[in-house]
C-alpha cells in the first residue's frame, strides 16, 4: 500500500525505481542490490508489518532486457493489506540475487523452485538445488526459449 511506498522512499530513496497502482494493488519496482535490507525494513516497521511472504515468482521477460526478474508478494496480518515487490536482475553474470531466507524462512522452497525452473541463483541460500525436476535434468523448463514438449 501507500505506506510501504512511503517507507521505502524515505529509507531507500535511490533503490526505488517505480511505484504502480493497478486494480487496487500496489507494485513497487526496486533495484536488486539491497533487497534483503528492503525486505527486513518492510517486515519490521510498525506501520507496514509485512511478516508474511506469500510467494516469490521468477520471471523471464525474454524479448526485453533485462531478461530475468523476481516478484515478491507480501501480506500484513495487522493491516490486512498486500504489496508486490518487483526487481529486475541485470543480464551480466547470469541472473543472481541475494536470498531472502534470513528474512522469511518460507522463502527457502520458493527460491529453490525459481532456481529449478528458471535458473535464477540466490546468493546465501542454505540449500540451493533442484526441487521439482529430477536432479540430473539439464535446462530450466520455464524459460521462454525452452520448448513446451521438452528437448
Amino acid at each position: 500500500m501507500n505506506k510501504a511506498a512511503e517507507l521505502l522512499q524515505e529509507k531507500f530513496p535511490e533503490e526505488v525505481v517505480e511505484v504502480a497502482e493497478f486494480r487496487g494493488e500496489t507494485t513497487i519496482t526496486v533495484k536488486p542490490g539491497r533487497i534483503v535490507d528492503i525486505c527486513k525494513a518492510l517486515r519490521d516497521a510498525n506501520e507496514t508489518s509485512f511478516r508474511y511472504l506469500s510467494m516469490i515468482a521468477g520471471m523471464d521477460y525474454l524479448p526485453q532486457s533485462p531478461r530475468f526478474g523476481v516478484v515478491y508478494s507480501l501480506y500484513s496480518h495487522r493491516n490486512h493489506n498486500r504489496v508486490t515487490l518487483k526487481t529486475l536482475l541485470p543480464d551480466e553474470g547470469g541472473p543472481v540475487i541475494d536470498s531472502v531466507v534470513p528474512v522469511w524462512a518460507t522463502a527457502n522452497w520458493h527460491e529453490r523452485e525459481a532456481y529449478d525452473l528458471l535458473g535464477i541463483r540466490f546468493r546465501g541460500h542454505p540449500d540451493l538445488r533442484r526441487i521439482l525436476m529430477p536432479e540430473d535434468w539439464v535446462g530450466h523448463p520455464l524459460r521462454k526459449d525452452y520448448p513446451l514438449r521438452g528437448k
Binding site: 525436476m133 529430477p134 523448463p141 525452452y146 520448448p147 513446451l148 514438449r149 521438452g150 528437448k151
Partner: protein
C-alpha cells in the same frame, strides 16, 4: 507355473485351466498405485457406493509381491517412471496392467516436457480405461473386461508360454 510342463494339454488340463482362471479373476489384488486425480476415483470405487469388494478386489496391497494387477491411475511423470518400472518388475507373474484415465493411456491433456505420453511406452497394458477421470462405473467396466480376458487365458498351452517368454524378453 510348473504344473503344465508335466501334464501336457488334454481334457484334465482344460478343466484345471478354467478353475485356475476363475480363481485368478475372482480375487485380483491391485497394487496401490494412485498417482493423481484418477486415484481419487479409484478410492471412490473402493468405497461405499461402488464397492469393489464385491469383485474380490478390496485388498489393495502395498507390496508389489502380493499384487496381481497394477492400476496406473493418474499422470505418469518422467521423474516417477523409474519407480513404476521397479514396481512392475517386482510383481510376480501372472500380472496385468490397467491404464486408468487419459493421462495413463496417452498423456491426457498434459502434453509437456515432464509427462510420459502414455504408460504403454514402457509397460504392456491389458485394458485402457479412458476418461478424465473415468467414473467409478467406467473403471469397474474396465475391470470386468479384464476378467473376461483372464477367463480366456490359456496359460497351460505351449503357444501361450512362448508368447509370455517373448513378452518378458521385451520388457
Amino acid at each position: 507355473m510348473g504344473i503344465e510342463e508335466h501334464l501336457g494339454y488334454n481334457i484334465l488340463t482344460t478343466s484345471l485351466e478354467k478353475l485356475v482362471d476363475w480363481g485368478r479373476k475372482s480375487s485380483l489384488w491391485p497394487a496401490t498405485f494412485g498417482l493423481a486425480c484418477c486415484a481419487i476415483e479409484m478410492i471412490c470405487t473402493a468405497a461405499n457406493r461402488w464397492d469393489i469388494a464385491r469383485f474380490g478386489m478390496e485388498a489393495f496391497r502395498a507390496s508389489p509381491r502380493q499384487a496381481d494387477v497394477i492400476i496406473i491411475a493418474g499422470t505418469v511423470c518422467k521423474k516417477m517412471m523409474p519407480a513404476i518400472e521397479r514396481i512392475y518388475e517386482q510383481m510376480t507373474e501372472p500380472k496385468w496392467v490397467i491404464a486408468m484415465g487419459a493421462c495413463a493411456c496417452s498423456g491426457g491433456i498434459f502434453d509437456s516436457y515432464a509427462v510420459v505420453q502414455g504408460i504403454d511406452t514402457y509397460l504392456p497394458v491389458d485394458v485402457y480405461v479412458p476418461g478424465c477421470p473415468p467414473r467409478p462405473e467406467g473403471l469397474l467396466y474396465g475391470i470386468l473386461k479384464l476378467h473376461e480376458q483372464i477367463l480366456k487365458d490359456p496359460f497351460l498351452t505351449k503357444k501361450y508360454r512362448e508368447r509370455l517368454a517373448l513378452r518378458q524378453e521385451a520388457v
